[in-house]
């Protein structure tokens, strides 16, 4: 473990120093760097360290390590790379950017997540380059009607300050705040009213992120309100407040729920792993003989379980390892074991089965949602 910690810390340091170097380079030796934003920068640097550290620690867990590796292997699988690249794009579009799977969990839920996610993406896209000094706008000398965008110290383009682009650029954060606030409200509403959510939620895990996002957005809006309509009333105070909330959020990134933003893309790797698995040789349950998942998956799980310290090996017989038993047969074995203990106490006896393999248990109810939840449940284990 110690090695993992050391390695992860090193990676964290490397990542944050790289970012530091990029900031220095991108802002032309801090020429364009706004000193007022230094606190933000440091909190981001810290968050980068934290995120990398945690990501690396996460990757060092046996199951994650294995699937990380396997995911890439599956992706780069010979002959499939082109198809995979296409799928990657479509999955990123539908699932990551479009939140399709969340919409399926509930339309309102999907909307909530889309609002928060896109609000944050817009905000980050606008602020980070500014904070790092990678992007800044300067008035075009001699032309009072236009601005010039400077990217990494290079003049990029010019635009009139009453153009639509300008409007979006300068008010982008306001829009982002509205999206986030709307999303946070919806999320809060759900958490307050739904019995199911109420039972499981935790403050630190589920409310804290919402509170932080809300605080960031609201203080940000207050800033805008202050300089637009109130002649800068309380501007200093509000900007400190805003800075505190933003910095708090960055510092919280590696710890709480926000970390899922970085974990979630693993879903893409899993998708390829499953796709490849479907093409591969199947595992056959050693109790009922039915194909269930891919052989590769079973072997991988056996390896993972060993690394985790589980001892599901079976000494006697041909099963070898419990992982070769499909889930329905696991349920059957479990219940039969209890049933057998009652032999002699209760009526009935074992009804022998002439075939070499036992029949596969079948869902008592095949209705979707009642027996299997979805096609995978239905197909994988009960062909």
């Amino acid at each position: 473990m110690n090695r993992d910690v050391r390695r992860s810390a090193t990676r964290g340091l490397v990542a944050s120093s790289t970012l530091g170097a990029l900031i220095v380079a991108g802002s032309r030796n801090l020429d364009h760097f706004d000193a007022a934003l230094v606190a933000y920068t440091f909190s981001i640097l810290f968050a980068t360290f934290g995120l990398t550290y945690r990501y690396s620690m996460w990757l060092s867990r046996p199951p994650t390590a294995l699937y990380w590796r396997r995911g890439w292997q599956a992706f780069f699988r010979r002959g499939l790379l082109i198809r995979h690249a296409g799928q990657l794009l479509s999955r990123i579009g539908l699932d990551v950017l479009g939140n399709r799977f969340i919409v399926r969990r509930g339309q309102l839920r999907g909307l909530t997540h889309l609002l928060i996610m896109w609000g944050c993406i817009i905000a980050v896209a606008i602020t980070f380059p500014l904070v790092f000094g990678w992007l800044h706008f300067s008035p075009v000398p001699g032309d009072l009607t236009r601005y010039e965008a400077v990217v990494f110290g290079f003049r990029a383009f010019r635009f009139p300050h009453d153009s639509t682009l300008a409007f979006f650029l300068f008010h982008g954060l306001v829009w982002a705040s509205f999206l986030v606030i709307a999303g946070v409200m919806l999320a809060m509403r759900r958490r307050m009213r739904e019995g199911g959510a109420a039972a499981l939620q935790r403050f630190a895990e589920d409310f804290m992120p919402l509170v932080l996002l809300f605080a960031v957005s609201v203080t940000g809006l207050m800033l805008t309100a202050s300089y637009t309509w109130m002649k800068g009333y309380g501007f200093t105070f509000i900007s400190i407040l805003h800075a505190v909330t933003v910095i708090g959020t960055f510092l919280w990134l590696p710890f709480g729920k926000f970390f899922h933003v970085f974990q979630r893309p693993a879903q893409l790797g899993v998708g390829f792993y499953k796709d490849v698995g479907r093409l591969e040789e199947k595992a056959h349950c050693r109790r009922c003989g039915h194909a269930f998942t891919s052989r590769m998956h079973v072997l991988d799980l056996i390896e993972v379980e060993r690394k985790l310290g589980y001892r599901y090996e079976i000494a006697a017989g041909e099963v070898e390892h419990y992982q070769w038993i499909c889930p329905p047969c696991r349920r059957a074995s479990f219940v039969m074991a209890q049933g057998l203990l009652w032999r002699g106490h209760r009526g009935g006896s074992s009804l022998p089965c002439a075939e070499a393999l036992l029949p596969m248990p079948t869902f008592a109810n095949r209705g979707l949602g009642e027996g299997p939840l979805d096609s995978e449940d239905a197909e994988n284990f009960h062909p």
Partner: protein, 211 residues
């Protein structure tokens, strides 16, 4: 709120009559309305009506959680292993395949593993889980140890299971005969046992008819 310690889950699958009340009631639970988390299979319907009601056993060291690459499965301090956390679960199927009791279900369209959470919305406020409330055979029962001892003096609860070389301890108990020799249930030893029931043939033709 945590589930009160005095209330425990007791399963005696030998009582199950396959009526599917548990399936129907499970889908009424607030945390997963419209979807049933309990597993109920026929062992071998061609030979007997034996059914297998299986809820999450809430393992002390849950294999499902450990093999989860996304850290999505959490065990709360009351010993309940919660269903996958929605933001994290990446639907890799590891838990489904690795759970020694065959409990988790996969909802592919939602990219989400779902499983029994002991009706946390109910048990955490002192109510019984849905399935154990309705189960007409009380194959699924929820209550105190004392109640159980009084109702079923010839049974005792056991919560240790053997899978090959692996021992698993669980929060949920199964009922075994009070005079059972061993304090654990050897699951893999029963792996190749056929279904249990009566044989109609032996008795069907009276002695004279058979002759």
């Amino acid at each position: 709120m945590p589930v009160p310690e005095t209330f425990e889950f007791f399963i005696d699958a030998g009582r199950c009559i396959g009526c599917q009340s548990c399936i129907q009631a499970c889908a009424e639970c607030d945390t997963h309305k419209g979807q049933s988390m309990i597993q109920l299979d026929y062992v071998d319907r061609a030979r007997s009506t034996q059914t297998l009601p299986v809820v999450c056993m809430h393992c002390d060291s849950p294999t499902c959680a450990e093999v989860c690459p996304a850290d999505a499965i959490k065990r709360t301090e009351d010993g309940v292993v919660q269903t996958a956390r929605k933001p994290r679960c990446i639907a890799c199927n590891n838990c489904v395949l690795a759970c020694p009791f065959g409990v988790p279900k996969m909802n592919t369209r939602m990219n989400l593993m779902m499983k029994c959470d002991m009706c946390h919305d109910r048990t955490s406020v002192g109510l019984k889980p849905m399935c154990a409330s309705v189960c007409p055979s009380q194959a699924l029962a929820f209550g105190t140890r004392e109640e159980m001892a009084k109702l079923r003096p010839r049974s005792k609860p056991v919560n240790t299971f053997q899978f090959g070389a692996q021992t698993i301890r669980t929060k949920v108990n199964v009922m075994v005969p009070a005079d059972a020799q061993r304090e654990f249930v050897d699951v893999t030893a029963a792996m190749h046992e056929p279904t249990i029931g009566h044989e109609v043939l032996d008795d069907v033709f009276g002695a004279e008819v058979r002759a």
